[in-house]
């Protein structure tokens, strides 16, 4: 088999292009968060055609399709474990009629068909049918199957140390340890004279710099805000415009923080983007061959970096998109990136995708036929409602109709482990944060009007999630924050948050959320002034409002300049639609 290697970067996929708002390959934008059902949390790898048809029937019988739940997505476990004549194929025992027949069944019911794959060589459950190197034939298959939604995972990715990849693939995504650079025949300029940007890089006590790459955001430990990539930047003065050379003294490694791939640019022109020869150890420094560069008269900026973690992943997602657009130019396929926040997709996802996962999975105890699986409210890792919420709630700046949506993973409504209050609050959080609403339960367990149905079919909460302005709620109050509740990453759950979300016609939604396991008493409020400061003209502030509680469906008139509650039960949320009256 031909050895896989990362693509050469185009101008459109390099790090410096991320701030541009344009999409790649004509990716359509303007989609509201996707709503539907995904097989993973409900059935794991054990989903079948029979179960999928039963879920589709239930969606229609329960009236969920009328509320917007239209995508029915087959997650991992639906393909044969190997390609057949180079193509993807259905697992014949679980999906005997094939995917096109299932698509026809779903489309016949007015629903939409979603599938799953991976940018790596294998799917997460092991099947050797990842899209890497097969983007074109897979796009043809998805087009033939009339797929409307594609969730694409990141396991077995060959150009990063992703889940199930060789850990030494870190060599692709981190620069070597840098000791110095040398311009022309001048003296070596030690790393300590360079400016270190971002929060990943660090200087060793003896001078060299490591950590030139992008922070791995799969886990919940660090904030997604701020510069998550590091560069080492030198300013070099030249008495004249000249052609000269640049050498680097470095040592390589193959682990998170130290790699072998170096990118260098001089005054914005990339002069190096590839592996440097391997050194014996991370302590054994060598000097590279000279690289031809041009300096201008005066100050010159030389950047040493490695943004390949983000760039490689963007390129892989873009490559599949390119062929989807080629073979299905008129099909508006929703593209869901599931790279678990590893590569800080909030920076680049908007160029190709409709949503991007922000962390590893919300649960590792998925259900199966006859077992609802298990979800947690709190955990030390990503597998809980609060772990996902705590990160997503400060990521509103990355979301929007022209960008896409932060995805705190699929809903755990109906799974074991969450009580009724936690389940209601979980759903309200996802609605307020404009998260995709992908149900993950066996819908045969739901009856019209039962407690689960009243949560997932809450029309007012859904209207908040699907509001045409597409603005993710901002946290304007957090009882655990001393300041900046909208940007402070808080993982302590003994607290009350207040989220505010502008909606069309000057209406706005407010959620008061008690994340703790005990009642909260006090005055939890936000003022008109605070809301105005956050949203300006996007909300209409009149001093007189009709306030409608979306859970008890009661309305009352509120006159004043503050919105508040004085008590919240454990895990409770009180959520209002606020309609200006004057």
């Amino acid at each position: 088999m031909k050895a896989l290697k990362p693509d050469k970067l185009s101008k459109d996929t390099c790090f410096d292009s991320f701030v541009e708002t344009g999409t790649l390959h004509g990716k359509q934008k303007g989609h509201l968060p996707a709503m539907g059902w995904n097989s993973w949390n409900a059935f794991g790898s054990g989903n079948t055609e029979e179960l999928t048809r039963a879920m589709a029937d239930a969606i229609c019988d329960l009236g969920l399709d009328k509320l917007g739940y239209r995508y029915v997505v087959l997650d991992d476990g639906c393909y044969k474990p190997e390609r057949v004549d180079g193509k993807l194929a259905n697992e014949e025992v679980k999906f005997p009629s094939g995917f096109k027949a299932l698509a026809d069944y779903l489309h016949g019911k007015g629903l939409l068909f979603g599938m799953y794959n991976d940018v790596g060589t294998n799917l997460c459950a092991g099947a050797a049918v990842g899209t890497c190197g097969h983007e074109e034939e897979d796009a043809r298959s998805y087009t033939a199957w009339e797929v409307d939604f594609l969730k694409v995972d990141n396991c077995y990715y060959p150009f990063d140390n992703a889940t199930f990849s060789n850990p030494e693939n870190a060599r692709y995504v981190y620069a070597p340890v840098i000791k110095s650079i040398t311009v022309g025949s001048g003296k070596a300029i030690p790393a300590k004279e360079g400016k270190l940007t971002g929060k990943v890089g660090r200087r060793r006590k003896d001078g060299p710099v490591l950590g030139l790459g992008t922070f791995d955001g799969t886990g919940p430990k660090y904030s997604p805000l701020g510069n998550r990539s590091s560069e080492l930047i030198f300013t070099v003065n030249s008495a004249k415009e000249q052609d000269t050379t640049l050498k680097v003294t470095y040592a390589t490694g193959k682990r998170e923080g130290v790699g072998e791939w170096l990118q260098m640019s001089v005054n914005g022109t990339m002069v190096q983007d590839g592996f440097l020869p391997e050194t014996a150890t991370e302590e054994k420094f060598v000097t590279s061959e000279p690289i031809k560069i041009q300096l201008r008269k005066g100050e010159n900026e030389i950047r040493l970096m490695n943004h390949r973690r983000q760039e490689n992943t963007l390129q892989s997602y873009a490559k599949l998109l390119k062929y989807l657009r080629k073979y299905a130019p008129d099909r508006d396929i929703i593209y869901s990136a599931c790279e678990w926040g590893k590569t800080q997709p909030q920076n680049w996802g908007h160029r190709v995708c409709d949503s991007w996962r922000i962390l590893n999975d919300i649960t590792f105890r998925v259900g199966r036929d006859g077992d609802p699986g298990h979800g947690d409210w709190v955990s030390g890792y990503t597998n809980s409602v609060t772990s996902q919420y705590n990160k997503a709630v400060i990521m509103d700046r990355f979301a929007g109709l022209e960008r896409g949506w932060n995805d705190p993973d699929m809903l755990m409504v109906g799974m074991g482990g969450l009580n009724h209050s936690q389940t209601k609050t979980h759903f309200a959080m996802w609605c307020m944060m404009n998260a995709p609403l992908m149900l993950g339960l066996d819908l045969r367990r739901v009856k019209k009007g039962d407690p689960l149905h009243r949560i997932i079919a809450n029309e007012e909460l859904i209207s908040i999630n699907q509001d045409p302005l597409g603005i993710q709620a901002k946290r304007l109050f957090c009882s655990a924050c001393e300041s900046r509740p909208d940007t402070t990453y808080v993982r302590k759950n003994d607290r009350v948050d207040i989220l505010v979300k502008p909606m069309k016609d000057g209406i706005f939604a407010i959620s008061f959320i008690n994340l703790s396991d005990h009642p909260m008493e006090g005055r939890f409020e936000v003022s008109e002034a605070l809301i105005r400061k956050a949203f300006g003209e996007k909300v209409r502030l009149t001093g007189l409002y009709r306030v409608r509680d979306v859970w008890n469906r009661k309305s009352e008139v509120l006159e004043g300049d503050c919105f508040g509650v004085s008590s919240l039960k454990p895990f409770e949320n009180i959520s209002w639609l606020v309609i200006p009256m004057a």
Binding site: S45, E82, A125
Partner: protein, 177 residues
């Protein structure tokens, strides 16, 4: 039964690039068991369990067929995949419900494998497959012949004990048939 697997593992490394070879050597331990051997041993065990019928066995086979490429069958079996097989065996063949993770949640590497995390926790919390060392499961390391034999023995012992001690098949963690 499992003695040929070492040579077979070496055969599999022919033509593998040096860096990948190093990685494979890093995780290869003495006498690794192949997927084929371990799956066969579990299938043989299912023949000895009271009340296991053809439907349960077919469900286990279906998992194998749909989860692993044919090329994986003769390769050494990583411990994480051994945990998956044991977990599927527990719930598909034996009808056991999942238990709370308990101390298994503290394994530092339990989340390294998203699709194996629950399986690792379930076999560890039952004591069928032990962590490699305190706080570390080491899912990438290949399952040794000794570990496989111990896991199969502990599993059989557990099933015999449950069958002998309890008919209810509820409180013991097994679902009613």
């Amino acid at each position: 039964m499992m003695s040929s697997s070492v040579n077979r593992g070496k055969e599999q490394m022919k033509g593998v690039p040096e860096t990948e070879k190093e990685d494979q050597r890093r995780v290869m331990n003495a006498n690794p068991v192949t997927l084929h051997e371990f799956a066969d041993a579990l299938t043989a065990l299912s023949d000895r369990i009271t009340g296991v019928g053809s439907a349960e066995k077919a469900a286990f086979e279906e998992f194998l067929r749909s989860s692993f490429p044919a090329a994986a069958y003769d390769l050494p079996l990583p411990r994480k995949d051994a945990a998956r097989l044991l977990h599927v065996f527990l719930y598909r063949v034996c009808g056991e419900a999942d238990l709370d993770w308990g101390e298994a949640a503290d394994l530092a590497d339990v989340y390294d494998c998203r699709i194996c995390a629950n399986a690792i926790a379930q076999v560890c919390v039952r004591g069928i497959l032990r962590p490699d060392r305190k706080g570390i499961f080491e899912g990438e390391r290949f399952l040794s012949e000794a570990e496989a034999a111990e896991a199969l023995s502990l599993l059989e012992e557990r099933l015999r004990y449950i069958d002998a001690a309890c008919d209810c098949r509820w409180e013991c963690g097994r679902n009613p048939k």
